[in-house]
Amino acid sequence: MKDLVQLYLQQFKTTFTSMFQYRAALLIWMIGQVLEPLVYLIVWSTVSNGNGGSVGNYTTGAFVSYFVVLMLVNQFTYTWLMFDYEWRIREGIFSFALLKPVHPIHSDIADNLMTKAIQLPVLTVIAVILAFTFHPTLSLTPWVILLFIPALLLAFGVRFLLEWTLAQAAFWTTRVGSINQLYFFMLLLFSGQIAPLSLLPHSIQIAAKILPLYWTVGFPTELLLGKLTLSTVLTGIGIQIVWLIIALFLVRVIWRLGTRAYSAVGQ
């Protein structure tokens, strides 16, 4: 355990140093990440204003708060593993990870956590600016904040492990761009990124609750906005835990099969 802690601390330092090598690129990348929810925020606010100040159970202010919170949640749970994995395997860099006596997932976890630690303060400032600009309606209660923290951490865990599992498709095909594209389209629709789930057709809502994607973005967002009852929140956290266990299992199984496939073909 002590060795693992040291590994994480060292990976934190490496990521920190790497990230600040290209400061301008880092800033531009963060702005790009903010633009997508900002577009949805503006679109839905406009629709809401044109519709007499609300759409479904969302007022214009509620849309603003939804997309600002969603931006933060999405940033916290976002990973770039699927792009990285393809590159690592195509370039043969993955071989070095296989030669090391440590599972490469640890480096990825540490790398992601440090990146978020660097980005989140900047994004929080952006969120505050957006809040002052667009006037959201948000009333936080202590129990909501208390439950939001584990829900957010579980959302990150589920999304990270699922994306790590999917990224391993690169073991079988070095052109995983199409799989990534399909995944990000599904994420957009089912996670609540394009619109709050309650505004989408009933069938989409059911599919979203069955699939894991809503639990990685939409659920913690709605939780913080106070849109869910206590029992819904507790059930949601339970579902997140189940998905975390499933994702852990998938990571292990696919890793075993994937490394075997990689080792059979060689890069």
Binding site: L9, T14, S18, Q21, S95, L99, P101, A264
Partner: protein, 346 residues
């Protein structure tokens, strides 16, 4: 210069419970690796057929290879491009599963990739990088320190030693992307050896480097082998590497083992000619009756003669001509190896 106590076995050199009692550190028996490669002929019809049905052709990259290596040996692993050298090294370092056959390295089956095995080996690939590209190499070294659980005191002394041997000094704090190819290779080698592996696989460690850098890397490998008794299996297309480091060579071609023995024996076997260089007073003499005249400049003749005839021809030259100086040379090692590959080509 050496700060590490070599007499005291530490975690990096202590054999594990699975380590072999015998001195055979590396053992291969009938090792085979077959790849299945998609094949597609030229033309639109073939492309369309390929959408529905892909023809896979088996390619034997490694075909029934067996050899052993003892502790502390340096063996040159030779063969032309595509002979199966890298595939064999990847199987021995645990990156590839073989199709058939047995291999053990330090008593472990490599492709099980047990942690105790991985802590004792390394693979340096001349054309691949493990260093983090955007930041100085020292950060990768630090990362490897924790990955391989190198105690801080040992790490510092090993780092100091590697820095001295490879003259890394100022390179450690420069971003890797700003290093030259040779500088980067030195850092790659250091990163790969920080955990002081007992078995070192080197795949073209000097590829693309200038002569000076090649020599430096060579002398470092020799020094590492001498100090730590490490077993080294290396591939290289530079025969100077092989001649300087490897008493023994293993030659493979088309995946099959063709020769396993002393380099001198290989050279002897495939040297059919020798070169005689004689210095005469002038260039007016016709020496074609003695052998094939390769060049003549300022009275200095270079003759190519059959190996078996060398002594007799030398004697005749000395008796017949006013020889100022005479030198008998073996042909360049590259020429001999090239001849070996060509003759073995099925």
């Amino acid at each position: 210069m050496l700060n590490v106590n070599l007499d005291q076995p530490d975690r990096f050199s202590t054999p594990t419970a699975k380590s072999p009692v015998s001195s055979k550190v590396i053992r291969l028996e009938g090792l085979c690796k077959t790849y299945f490669v998609n094949q597609q002929e030229a033309g639109a019809a073939s492309t369309i057929r390929g959408i529905f049905h892909r023809k896979k052709t088996p390619v034997k990259a490694v075909d029934d290879i067996s050899f052993n290596m003892s502790a502390g040996e340096i063996v040159g692993f030779l063969g032309p491009n595509g002979a199966g050298k890298t595939t064999t090294l990847k199987m021995l370092s645990g990156l590839l599963y073989p199709t058939k056959g047995i291999a053990t390295v330090l008593g472990h089956t490599p492709w099980k990739r047990e942690k105790s095995f991985l802590r004792q080996i390394t693979l340096v690939m001349g054309q691949r990088n493990q260093l983090v590209w955007d930041i100085p190499a020292i950060h990768t070294f630090e990362l490897n320190r924790v990955i391989y659980r190198i105690p801080p005191a040992d790490y510092l002394s090993i780092l100091k030693e590697l820095t001295e041997l490879l003259e890394l000094g100022p390179l450690l704090t420069k971003p890797v992307r700003n290093l030259s190819l040779g500088e980067r290779m030195k850092c790659e080698i250091a990163a790969a050896l920080l955990h002081r592996p007992q078995v070192v696989f080197l795949d073209e460690p000097t590829i693309g480097l200038d002569v000076t850098m090649q020599r430096r890397i060579r002398s470092f490998i020799a020094e590492y082998n001498k100090r730590f008794g490490a077993t080294v299996l290396m591939t290289s297309h530079y025969m100077a590497d092989v001649a300087a480091l490897c008493k023994r060579v293993v030659v493979i071609h088309h995946g099959r083992l063709l020769f396993d023995g002393e380099l001198a024996l290989l050279l002897q076997k495939f040297t059919s000619h020798k070169t005689i260089i004689i210095q005469l007073g002038e260039c007016q003499v016709d020496l074609n009756i003695y052998g094939e005249v390769l060049s003549c400049e300022d009275g200095r003749y270079t003759l190519r003669v059959p190996k078996a005839e060398t002594a007799r021809i030398t004697e005749r030259l000395l008796a017949d001509l006013p020889v100022v100086d005479l030198l008998v040379e073996d042909p360049p090692i590259e020429e001999v190896i090239d001849r070996a590959f060509t003759e073995w080509n099925p």
